[in-house]
């Protein structure tokens, strides 16, 4: 036996095997044990500012060998430089699975050992050990192996990594890169050491660490002039355990315009087809629960005693004008925002707490008047039904509430609108408007249809009162949205405002002295306070970055890095882009995603489930949607195991569509 080749040595370094006396039939972790003179060091896989990692060139083996496993390093400041490596002794490990009666390995080694000066070393080593039923280690050797095995970073997963990677960002013109960790399970623990895997991108110098609350901000220096890579990796070590973060996406620190990166499904479609899709989408919006209450007001006006056949077409056209002007205005606003580089998407008007509060107030007052509480409602209704502005205003209102109810066709059209040139985007917006207005205009243009409606009479009062209920339902829905935006305070603010408004109506009806003034004063104060509170709550919520995400069982909040990690370990991923104000999303959730059947399917196939909640204006999710060529929800994204190309599912989900995902495999 060539005992002499069991070891290798050079200046200040002795290398020997860490291996069992007898291998078992299965996989065994073995390694090279480097004993290094005091004061001298050898290197990690990223050696840092100078130096070089050792090389293990396997010339042959009677079995399968794994990659070298590098124990997590320490920083070694050497004069003006920082190296990453090990002082004293270290073991570089790898896995070996015998495929013969003896485990034979032949390896060429090269290493660099440095103090301030560096000395390279070379050696050849062979291993030859018998294979038996079970591995037999010298206890000391096994303990040594285990000691270093414990320092080898494990791939960080949601379950084993005590922190949460919230962001890796680099300023495009800067020379630094920031890694932000949130204390998850590691609450209260000291800041761990973080080492960059890519020495070409980041210098080895210890990052500057800022700690605020649960947030740890590591600022690394970039290698001057190094081109930013799309992703990078780190090893995180808390002194006991170590974790590896691979392929963490680097984001530009500056908020830039959403990248024009449409999915293949959207690219290359002619504009007319997109406009046609927009018209169809707009027409379907009429059937959506968000639009129905508004249309009901208008319909009520049309069948009222004042509704004359001749005037109806005019009414219909005014309504259409209201719809189109509003769509044009929203389209223009979106284009201006897009040009300004704001990462913003469709439905944004319902992401603002004050706007939601305003809608609650509007629908509450209308509902109360429909119920007959107050004559004002009657005036409003007459206004909506009679005056020239009335139909127009109804049209405006219809668009405003219809927007977030993205129906089929609408997603693709709107997504394209953010990417198309301005005229194309505007054409799509107007297409949506035409679609929304069309059924109503048709109803007006063909009085025969209207004539079939019953003649005015006392039933109208009943109908009016009945139509209040969809409005109440809308108020409840909007309150829920407000609650999602602001937390529990949202409910309180909304309901208190409603209470004050009803009280003010009551005061106003009782004509004692000054009651009207008190009523107006109360309403004014309530408006001021509630809108102020809603606005400041939302602002502070955004600044602290605490987006309340209801964690429902297996669904994870949106985290780009967690998703990339799941993809990297070949786990299938399902992402539900949703929002509280999106009715289609809620319906899909109720009828499909949250059913026991589908949940069992997901569980059985170990799917990584992500609920990307866009209720608040989360810029990360806006960006992710932009990359999919969408800027509205719902969007359902499916990555099959081991696939990096997403499949987009239809916006109206059915259980068999989810089942089909797993049949294909």
């Amino acid at each position: 036996m060539a005992v002499a080749q069991d070891t290798a040595s050079g200046d200040h370094v002795k290398v020997r095997w860490l291996a069992p006396d007898t291998f078992g039939p299965g996989e065994e972790t073995i390694g090279f044990y480097f004993e290094v003179d005091p004061g001298w060091h050898v290197y990690w896989r990223n050696a840092g500012d100078s130096g070089a990692a050792p090389r293990f060139d396997f010339a042959g083996a009677s079995g399968e060998l794994g990659d070298i496993q590098w124990p997590s390093p320490v920083r070694l400041p050497i004069e003006h430089l920082t190296n990453l490596g090990y002082e004293g002794d270290v073991a570089y490990l790898f896995s070996a699975t015998p495929k013969a009666s003896r485990m034979e390995i032949v390896v060429n080694l090269e290493w660099l050992v440095c103090k301030v000066d560096c000395i390279p070393g070379y050696g050849n080593m062979t291993l030859s050990r018998p294979v038996a039923d079970a591995a037999q280690w010298q206890p000391v050797e096994k303990a040594l192996r285990d000691r270093f095995a414990a320092q080898v970073p494990v791939p960080a997963t949601r379950d084993n990594f005590p922190w949460i990677v919230s962001n890796v960002a680099a300023a495009t013109d800067g020379d630094s890169l920031q890694l932000v960790l949130e204390a998850g399970a590691a609450e209260g623990a000291a800041a761990p050491a973080v080492f960059p895997l890519d020495g070409g991108l980041l210098t080895a110098k210890a990052p500057q660490v800022e700690e605020s609350g649960d947030t740890l901000r590591y600022t690394f220096q970039r290698v001057p002039g190094a081109v930013l890579t799309p992703t990078t990796g780190f090893v995180v070590s808390d002194g006991e355990g170590a974790w590896q973060l691979d392929d963490i996406e680097i984001q530009a620190a500056a908020t830039s315009a959403p990248t024009a990166n449409p999915t293949p499904a959207d690219s290359g479609q002619p504009l007319w087809l997109l406009v046609l899709a927009a018209i169809a989408g707009g027409a379907i919006l009429n059937l959506m629960p968000c639009v129905f209450p508004v249309l009901s007001i208008k319909l009520f006006g049309l069948v009222g005693p004042e509704g004359e056949a001749a005037g109806r077409l005019k009414e219909g056209l005014r309504y259409a004008a209201g719809v189109l002007v509003t769509f044009a205005a929203l389209g223009a606003l979106l284009l201006v925002l897009r040009a300004g580089g704001a990462a913003i998407g469709w439905g944004f008007q319902l992401q603002s707490a004050p706007v939601v509060l305003g809608l609650i107030l509007l629908f509450w007052v209308m509902a109360l008047s429909f119920s007959g509480l107050y004559e004002f409602g009657h005036h409003l209704m007459n206004l909506a039904g009679n005056s020239r502005g009335g139909s127009f205003v109804t049209g405006v209102l219809a668009v405003f509430v219809a927007a977030p109810c993205t129906g089929p066709f609408m997603g693709a059209a709107l997504g394209a609108a953010t990417l198309l040139p301005a005229y194309g985007a505007m054409a799509i917006f107007l297409g949506l408007g035409i679609g929304l207005a069309l059924p109503f205009v048709l109803l007006c243009a063909f009085p025969a249809l209207l004539n079939r409606l019953p003649a005015p009479g006392p039933w109208m009062e009943t109908l009016r009162q009945f139509l209040a209920f969809p409005l109440y339902a809308t108020v409840i829905w909007l309150l829920w949205v407000l609650g999602r935006l602001l937390g529990d305070s949202g409910w309180l603010i909304g309901t208190l405002l409603m209470l004050v408004v009803v009280f003010a109506f009551w005061l106003g009806r009782h004509q004692f002295r000054g009651s009207r003034w008190i009523a107006w004063g109360l309403v004014a104060a309530a408006l001021l306070m509630s809108f102020g509170a809603a606005n400041s709550l939302q602002q502070s919520g955004r600044e602290s970055g605490s987006v309340p995400v209801a964690s429902e069982q297996s669904w994870q909040p949106y985290n780009r890095n967690a998703i990339n990690q799941a993809l990297a370990r070949k786990q299938p991923v399902f992402i539900d882009y949703t929002a509280a104000w999106c009715i289609t999303c809620q319906v899909n959730k109720k009828l499909v995603l949250d059913t026991e059947e589908v949940e069992a399917l997901f569980r059985a196939n170990d799917v990584y489930l992500v609920r990307a909640d866009w209720t608040d204006q989360n810029p990360d999710i806006t960006r992710a949607l932009g990359e999919l060529g969408r800027n509205s929800v719902p969007v359902y994204v499916w990555y099959a195991a081991g696939e990096s190309e997403p499949i987009l599912l239809p916006q109206i989900l059915q259980v068999d569509m989810i089942e089909a995902l797993f049949d294909d495999e």
Binding site: D49, S50, A52, E110, V116, C118, G200, P224
Partner: protein, 210 residues
């Protein structure tokens, strides 16, 4: 609304950053960064002649950090790789300066007479005998971390490459034929009027002994 707030915060931070930069003493180690103007230098070479950046205005210039006792320098000089590069590009009118930044008493330090001998024994084909930067001023201005550490400066006086000589950080000269030489690639691309593919890399080698 929110976007404005964010950009406001950001500009405030960069404003603070700007103040911090002015307030910092100028002794912070600067560096030669690809895409930026090359730092000025003025050093005396082993023959006693002063060499400055402005002497090479309008010309291509390669800077190489040297330490005769560093295994990585030995790798590239022992194999003749570095001299071949120096010769090849000198023939194409590209200037090449080899710099010793080792401080007196540290590894690699050479008196002028010794430096002339080493230049001869190493068959140095640079445009001048070693530049002797014993006070480390030039090395620090360039942020030279290792020997060898390579910089390429274009005729406009901008750094176009900074980093390692090639992509293989082994100390073994046997790997040289299989390695991709970053300096040669950058110079060849530049002379052909093409873009430089790799403008920056992790310099490998021994630390510069300031």
């Amino acid at each position: 609304m929110t976007t404005q707030g964010m950009s406001g915060k950001r500009s405030f931070r960069s404003f603070l950053g700007g103040i911090a930069m002015f307030a910092l003493p100028a002794l912070a180690m600067s560096a030669a960064v690809p895409g930026e103007k090359a730092p000025d230098f003025s050093e005396v070479d082993a023959a006693g002649e002063t060499r400055s950046l402005k002497d090479y205005a309008g010309q291509w210039l390669v800077l190489e950090w040297f330490n005769k006792d560093c295994p990585y320098v030995k790798k590239h000089y022992g194999s003749g790789n570095m001299q071949a590069l120096q010769k090849k590009y000198a023939e194409q009118d590209i200037n090449w300066l080899t710099v010793i930044s080792s401080a007196k008493g540290k590894q690699g330090y050479l008196e002028p007479s010794q430096a002339l001998e080493v230049a001869k024994s190493h068959n140095l084909s640079a445009s001048a005998p070693f530049l002797l930067d014993a006070d480390g001023s030039m090395g620090r201005a360039y942020g030279a971390k290792t020997t060898p550490h390579m910089f390429i400066i274009n005729p406009q006086g901008e750094v176009v490459y900074a980093g390692a000589i090639d992509d293989n950080d082994s100390a073994n000269p046997a790997v040289i034929p299989k390695s991709a030489n970053y300096v040669a690639a950058a110079l060849d691309a530049s002379l052909a009027g093409e873009a430089i593919k790799t403008a920056s890399s992790r310099a490998y080698g021994c630390s510069v002994k300031y």
